[in-house]
Each structure stands twice: as C-alpha cells, then as structure tokens.
Amino acid sequence: MSSSSHTFDVLVVGAGPAGIAAACSAAEGGARVALLDNNPRIGGQIWRGQSQSHAANPDARKWFEKFAAAHIEFLPSTEVIDHLENGHVVVHRIDGQRVGAQSIDELPEEVHELAYKKLILCTGARELFLPFPGWTLPNVMGAGGLQALVKSGLLVSGKKVVVAGSGPLLLAVAAHLREHGADVRLVAEQAPWPRVARFAMSLLLQKTKLAQAFEIKRQLSGVPYKTNCWPVRANGNGENAKLESVTLRSGSRTWQERCDYLACGFHLVPNTELAALLRCELRAGFVRVDDSQQTSVRDVFCAGEPTSIGGVDLAIVEGQIAGYAAVGQSASAAKLLPQKRRLDRFAVLLRETFALREELRSAVDSETIVCRCEDVKFGRVRQHSSWRAAKLHTRCGMGPCQGRICGPATQFFFGWKADSVRPPVFAASMQSLAVAVAVQTEEHLMSHEESR
C-alpha cells in the first residue's frame, strides 16, 4: 500500500456545514483538499436530505453550490479508524466499497491510508440519550434520529408521535414530522418555561432565526408544546414489545400519551473521539481551540460542534476560519473572528436554556438497560465508581458503539469521565485492522531503514 500518491494539503473529516465551509475556504487558494464523511452525501445531519442541486434551505444551497464549484475531492461513506504518526490516517469504507474520489480511482482496498499536511476535524455532534424504563423498545428513538430516518425513506404519515427531551431540535423535528403527515401529539421539553421564554425572546432579536422560528410555529399550529415536561417510561405490549404509549411527568403530575413513535433526545453531545485519539486537549468535554481553530496538536484544526454546541451559523464561521487558517490565509481567518464572537453568545444561551434537570436522574431503575450493546443494567453499572471500572467489570461501553451512547449517559448519572480513546475509533472489520497493522508495521520498518 503506497501512501505518497494520496497526500492532501488539507484533509477535512466530516461533511456537515463546518466541514463544507472548511473545505471550500481551504480550496479557494488552490490547495489540494479532500473531504470525507461516513454518509454517502455531503450535508451532515442538519442538511441531510436536502437536494444537492436544488436545496430548499438557502444556506445549504449556497454552500452546496460553492462545494460543487470548488476543486474538492469528496470521499463518501468513509470513516477514519486510526491515526498514524507523521500526518497519516487510516480510513475505511463503511459499505464495503472501495475508498475513492475523482483522483483516487485505483485503490483496491476498502481500507486505505491518507496523508495530510493539515487536518481539520468537523465531526459534529450526536444526540444525548438518557435511559429510562422502556427506552430500548423498538420505535423509541432519537428526535434527530427519527427525523433522519424520515429523510431517508421511513413513512410516518398518520402515525402518532410524541417528541420529547430537550433543545431547539425538538421543535424542528416536530415540524418536519408534521410536514410528512405525522400526527404529532405533543412536544415535551424538560427545560422550565422562564428559561425557554428568555431563549425565544433572544431569537426575536435575530432576523434570520426569527424567520425560521415563525415558519416552525406555522407548521406546528395546534401541536401542544409543554415545558417542564419529560418522559419517565415507554410502555410496550405483546411479544414484539410494540410501543403503545409514553408516561410523561410535569411537576407532580404523571400521565400517559398514546404513540406509535417516541422521538426523544436530550440535546447534543460533541463527537470528540477522533480529537481524543489525536491527543487534542479537551476542556469540559469540548476540543480546545485558539482564535484560528487550531487545536493543541500541531497541524490539527477543529470546527463546529466538537468545540461548542452553537448551531449551524457558528459551525459555518468556525469552518471558514479553520479552512483559511489551515492554508495560511490568516488575514481572511481573522476577519471572521468578530462574527464568531457574536455567535459564541448563542452557544452560551443554548447551554443555559437547555441545562438538564436533576429529576431526569430519577426515572431510571435498577432493571433499566444503560448499555444497549451489551445489555448492562443500571443496577450493575451503579455498583462501580468509575467509567473504567464499570467497563472492566460489566462490559458497559464495550460493544460496537464503543460507549458513544452509554458514556455520555453515565457522565450525566454519575459524573464519570470517559477514558482515553483507542483505535479503531469506529468498530472495524478484522480485515480492516489487519491492513492498519500492516501499514503501521511497514512504516516502522521503513523508519528503521531510514535511520540506518
């Protein structure tokens, strides 16, 4: 496996808004730029399902057009599984196809090594899932999770849906589901009304967000939006454990709401696993960056949600700054800094508004599964004093998702910190790993030869 022919000036990981902006900005001056994503198309989660040529969302349309006009090599359905020394990463295709873009057409393996001069991590965020009895029943899924499924072909017309959890995503999801014919019974937001009201007021001061908010309000007319309200149990019935209802609580009141789907997510957690593998410094769970989005590791930049949960506008500006900074256009990067600082305030507001309430810790009981991969129950996890001890003794977090779902949940319940990240950073086949090992061994031997 040769490596020299696949060297990029800038390699961008993640093709959401931050990644697209980073790649386009870096490519403006003629640098050789590659963008990879584990999705088959660009857009990330927020622009998933937007037409690549005629996107309805104006931001998506603008950036898709820029992307199409730029010389950027896109590697679809591709994921980084390991990092090697001296600016190399090992990637694999998640669908068994060959790794490839326009100029990389002769790669025989589904696993390959790519070399970069600068690396920009735009790995986005995932939903926070908090366990409660019944949360493992089929048809209980993430809020963004159900939306993503609808965007990729699931029909929800006429289905009763309860949307619950926390964050502005709940309303966007509810509006989207309704547009696709779902009967949205209720949107349950755990945050208290005064905080949500303050958040709404601040949106009224931002023209672009205001238009979005009114559009969502129009789509949601007649759907109750209840604050101070959260799910405590999902109720199923029969051999197939068919979801029938969700038990909700608001203050001291508890009641059941019938539903075919429960779309439930408690806002977002950053995807920092790759940054951690690269040994980038994290602060309070986020990747620490300077004013040019440079991480603590040389030649590695980070933009978007891994640095703070601040919405799409902030992600785009951070992506642009990282892209310009990575190719040495520091003046262009610096020009965007005031804009970034303004948008940073929105990140603070989001965090304050949708902070999770204590009561969410009490819905779980000792029989509730915490680790869905290994079926480890809360009663067993609770007996341990750290994430590491729980992993060793119960296999919690040892399944294919590698603790991406139960890790943040145990952090919420017990204040545990995730331990160091080891490759493969995504579950990979033995064949992929064998190739990665071969690459490392070869490198080791070569560096040995050079030193002789």
């Binding site: 899924m141 993430g142 963004g144 869905r372 493969p424």
Partner: protein, 90 residues
C-alpha cells in the same frame, strides 16, 4: 417521481424509492425491530446517524453494516435474521 429500485429483505423482493437507505427498506416491510440484543430483546434504530449500531444487519453478506448509512442499490441483499455473534469484528 423518484425512480424505484428493487432490493431483497430477508429473502423477499421489495421496491423502494431510489435514495432510500437499507434501513428504510427493512422498516418498509412493517418490521420495527432490526436485531435481537445479547439478551434477546428486540431492538430498532436509535440514532439514525451511524453512531449507535442498533440498526446493524447483513448487507450483501457483509455483517454489522450500519443500515441507516447505506443507500439501497439495485439487487442489494439485506438480512436481519442472523445471529448477533460478532466473530470477525472487534
């Protein structure tokens, strides 16, 4: 109108609109569970974005495929009824 393509889910041929994921094809058969957990419980998709692995199934004989991230292609063979033992994956 989107173009229709045909795939096989657990041996049955079904039609899906082009652009649908393998997961959408599985769910379009009326199933809500995609796999059985290690203790036998039915499980369906959770995250919809390739993180949780709850939607994993065998696609074109490739096991542990995250069906929410894989687009259907003509003739794709998807099966959900295999054992969950992961001998060749870590």
């Amino acid at each position: 109108m989107p173009e229709t393509i045909h795939v096989t889910v657990n041996g049955a041929c079904i039609a899906v609109p082009s652009g649908a994921t393998a997961l959408a094809a599985i769910l379009s058969t009326g199933a809500s569970a995609v796999r059985r957990s290690v203790s036998g419980g039915p499980r369906g998709p959770l995250c919809g974005m390739g993180v949780c692995f709850e939607c994993r199934a065998t696609v074109n004989r490739r096991r542990y495929a995250r069906t929410c991230q894989i687009l259907c292609s003509p003739g794709m063979d998807i099966s959900t009824d295999v054992s969950d033992e992961p001998p060749d994956y870590v």
